[in-house]
Amino acid sequence: MVNLGFHSVRISGEYERIYNFLLRGSPPRIKSVFPQHTHTFVLMAVVGCMSGNRTELRSPKELLKAQYFSEEETTILTSIALHAKGFSTYPSEVLRNSKEIITLAEQYADYGMQVFCNELFGSPEAFVKLIETESVELQELTADMLKWVLSKSSTAQLKD
């Protein structure tokens, strides 16, 4: 298994509220939509990758340490990096460079979060507004997200 080391995994500052909401809800509780930040981050990174875009982080904030990614998540993040490299280099170059894997994942997750918010709520700002007014029903959102992922992934075409 690729070792992702102890790198910081960061997100744009403006998305911190959303990540925290998806983990803890608003007002905070033990469980919200995702059991761990890693689950949210990997989903967003895949969404970004599938959409073929990545964006630089704005006012980066640390979300978690890379050692918290499970084997499964590490394999997915590595696959994202292989794709980002255009499948052109020797895979070991990618597998070896954990920092690059994380940086690419951060950028894809950043774009992925934008796609997610746009498609489900209109925009990231609109989602944050809903969170602030405590008008998101967590169980509904959980089911809606699963539905969204199932429908999006079943018709998915990777964009370069």
């Binding site: 995702f34 990758c49 499948f87 895979p91 070991s92 597998l95 169980q139 959980t142 992934s153 990777l158």
Partner: protein, 684 residues
């Protein structure tokens, strides 16, 4: 225990002396006694009189708030008319009295309890003035006991007061069991606790928990730094647990209060047959909706626990497929140097100082620097073997994602179906509300009652959701507390602080867990026993059609009742309101039988209007079967419960021994008129 006679004198509605001789005193005799009369004439009072004679006034006050029994303030036991007559004449007070004669282990018991009442300054004052237990032995000798404690011990040996209530089945208890929510779970839990009589065990657990709290406080004195931080977090979580528990208790009480108010209002609305019919349908639809909502909640919870961890994987399927194809192509590309080979190759060239083309390698040149960087590559960098491992991981993930997709789609399908069903029930409930509204012209009071019932139903639904949320919160907090406990314990051990107190606390916690385990084991064993007994009874009570659909009753770990079909699938939400009522009846009968222990169901079963939601077919079937479930069966019935059809079926069983018709010549004056069952024809 067989009850031979109940004598009531100026007790509640019963003016003067009234007497019931019960059927089924000896084996083989007809064993059904019917007390027939309209609501409010004193059917339930006969059961209250029995309880009062056996256990005293306090047992009636235990039932405070039960609409069947009236509220505490209303618990005047001396007949009102007798009191008013006394006020108008001698003013010496009125003696009210209840006497019960029963047989137990070949001895005859006569217990007599008397109350004196008088109206003083417009208020009724009552006092218990007489108490006597006479035990007649088989040889004819008698023993008279007048000491209250001794009588209590004697009677409790025959039938413990904590389970006495389970021998009266009324609409209220049936309703509580038919509702698939917290009310039902409470009823089941309470029944099991009462059967086990484990008050002392619970008191011991509570006392130990108090000690544990003190020790926890004590440990704070020794805690510093990280230990103190965890201690504070732990205290915070413990406080939050207490808060949630107290809120939960509060909400449960409110729910119970709402259910009682609802039962009272329904009783009022029942006077209107059409309304009644619609209300019954509404109630059944609400019960099913509550079940669906609970099921939906569970499904969503399962979704959270299972699928949300893997949304990334589901989304990454196409990406993984491409990576898989790429890795397959790549392995075939022999021209490419894997890093390990490259490292060895570069090391050799640098050592030899010659390039592969034969030219000398100049130190410091780009070529040498490039070779050096290859040679310095981390020896732990991925080899071709690790690449193969990676390709295998990708393949495994692809397989898992296919399974996940299938599971998630099935889950979503169930959720969508449940939502559709809830929507359709909501639509039907809305229609029913409109139909109930349109039953105009109604007197204002009826409209108000219906409106209030609607509000209560909404409030109940809201409370049930709140209770489910609090339960969830509690579960999460307990998990958090366990984790903090573990961390705190480790911290204390590591720093060797507060050793003695920590060990004491550890011992206390172990003792609490052991006691809780013992209690839970008892409870679950009884739950299992109850489920088996209830299933056995259910098999007898169900008509052939029902027997095909329903296989058995189970008590879930959260104390809810479930009914399984022959394939072991839960179907409580899918069976009819009538079948649910039969399930409730079977379960309550099972509680009574299990509560009686080895001696069998030896207290007469009193059933107060038990057939509320049953269709004629079900009702007829039950009337044929119920008498065989108990040595003495006392049916308290109105003219809508026991019509000519039911009376005819009961006659055909050959088990109908006694009939008393309740008459009320004037207010507060009920009389029991003995009639021959064979000659009796109900008015409807």
């Amino acid at each position: 225990m067989r009850i031979r006679r109940l004598v009531m004198e100026n007790f509640r509605q019963f003016y003067g002396r009234q007497e019931i001789d019960f059927a089924g005193v000896r084996d083989g005799e007809p064993n059904v006694t019917v007390i027939f009369g309209e609501n409010g004439r004193g059917k339930t009072t006969t059961f209250r009189a029995l309880l009062f004679a056996l256990y005293g006034r306090s047992i009636l006050e235990d039932e405070e708030g039960n609409p069947k029994f009236g509220r505490k303030a209303d618990l005047g036991l001396v007949n009102r008319i007798a009191l008013e007559e006394d006020l108008a004449s001698a003013r010496q007070g009125v003696a009210a009295r209840v006497e019960v004669e029963f047989l137990y282990e070949e001895k005859t018991y006569n217990i007599i309890r008397g109350i004196a009442g008088i109206i003083h300054d417009g208020q009724v004052v009552e006092e218990e003035v007489e108490l006597k237990l006479i035990i007649t032995l088989p040889d004819g000798n008698t023993r008279v006991i007048q000491d209250e404690n001794e009588i209590k011990m004697e009677i409790d040996q025959v039938l413990d007061r904590r389970i006495a209530h389970y021998f009266l089945f009324d609409g209220e208890r049936i309703r509580r069991l038919t509702e698939a929510n917290e009310t039902q779970r409470d009823e089941v839990r309470r029944g099991i606790r009462n059967i086990l009589r484990i008050d002392t065990l619970n008191a011991a657990i509570q006392a130990l928990s108090d000690v544990e709290k003190e020790l926890h406080k004590e440990l704070k004195k020794f805690s510093k730094g990280e230990a103190l931080r965890i201690h504070n977090d732990l205290t915070d979580v413990r406080n939050r647990i207490e808060q949630v528990k107290s809120r939960l208790e509060c909400e449960k009480k409110s729910l119970d209060e709402l259910a009682r108010m609802e039962a009272e209002l329904e009783a009022a609305a029942n006077a209107f047959d059409v309304v009644n019919e619609k209300l019954n349908e509404k109630k059944a639809a609400e019960a099913v909706r509550e079940q669906h909502q609970e099921h939906l909640h569970e499904q969503l919870e399962r979704l959270h626990n299972n699928s949300m961890r893997s949304l990334g994987l589901l989304m990454a399927e196409e990406l993984l497929r491409q990576v898989q194809a790429y890795l397959a192509n790549f392995s075939a590309d022999d021209a490419y140097l894997p890093p390990v080979t490259r490292k060895r190759f570069a090391e050799r060239l640098i050592k030899e100082g010659l390039c592969i083309c034969g030219n000398r390698l100049e130190p410091g040149s780009d070529a040498v620097e490039c070779l050096r960087s290859w040679s310095e590559e981390d020896s732990g960098s991925p080899s071709i073997i690790e690449l193969n491992d990676f390709a295998r991981d990708v393949a495994v993930l692809l397989g898992r994602s296919a399974e996940l997709r299938k599971d998630a789609a099935a889950h979503l399908g169930t959720i969508a179906r449940l939502r559709e069903q809830i929507d359709s029930l909501n639509a039907r409930l809305k229609e029913l509300d409109e139909e109930l509204d349109s039953l105009a012209p109604q007197p204002g009071a009826v409209q108000e009652t219906l409106q209030r019932l609607r509000e209560l139903s909404e409030q109940k639904m809201h409370l049930n959701t709140k209770i489910a949320n609090y339960n969830k919160q509690l579960e999460d907090l307990v998990q958090e507390k366990n984790e903090l406990d573990r961390q705190y314990d480790e911290e204390l051990k590591r720093n060797k602080i507060g050793e003695e107190v920590r060990k004491q606390k550890e011992l206390v916690v172990r003792a609490i867990r052991a006691l809780e385990k013992a209690r839970d084991t008892f409870q679950h064993e009884v739950a299992e026993q109850l489920a088996v007994e209830a299933t056995r009874i259910l098999k007898q009570l169900l008509d052939p059609e029902g027997q095909q659909v329903i296989d058995r009753i189970v008590v879930n770990h959260d104390w809810s009742l479930e009914v399984l079909d022959p394939h072991g699938l839960p179907i409580l939400s899918g069976i009819s309101a009538g079948q649910r009522q039969v399930v409730s009846l079977a379960f309550i009968t099972a509680i009574a039988r299990v509560a009686s222990g080895e001696r069998g169901a030896n207290m007469p079963l009193f059933m107060d209007t038990p057939f509320g939601r049953l269709s004629g077919k079900h009702r007829d079937h039950l009337i044929r079967i119920l008498p065989s479930l108990t040595p003495q069966w006392v049916l308290l019935a109105t003219d809508t419960e026991l019509t000519r059809v039911e009376a005819q079926i009961l006659k055909e069983t050959g088990r109908w021994g006694k009939l008393y018709v309740l008459q009320q010549p004037r207010r507060y004056v009920s009389q029991l008129v003995h009639r021959e069952p064979a000659l009796f024809t109900p008015t409807r």
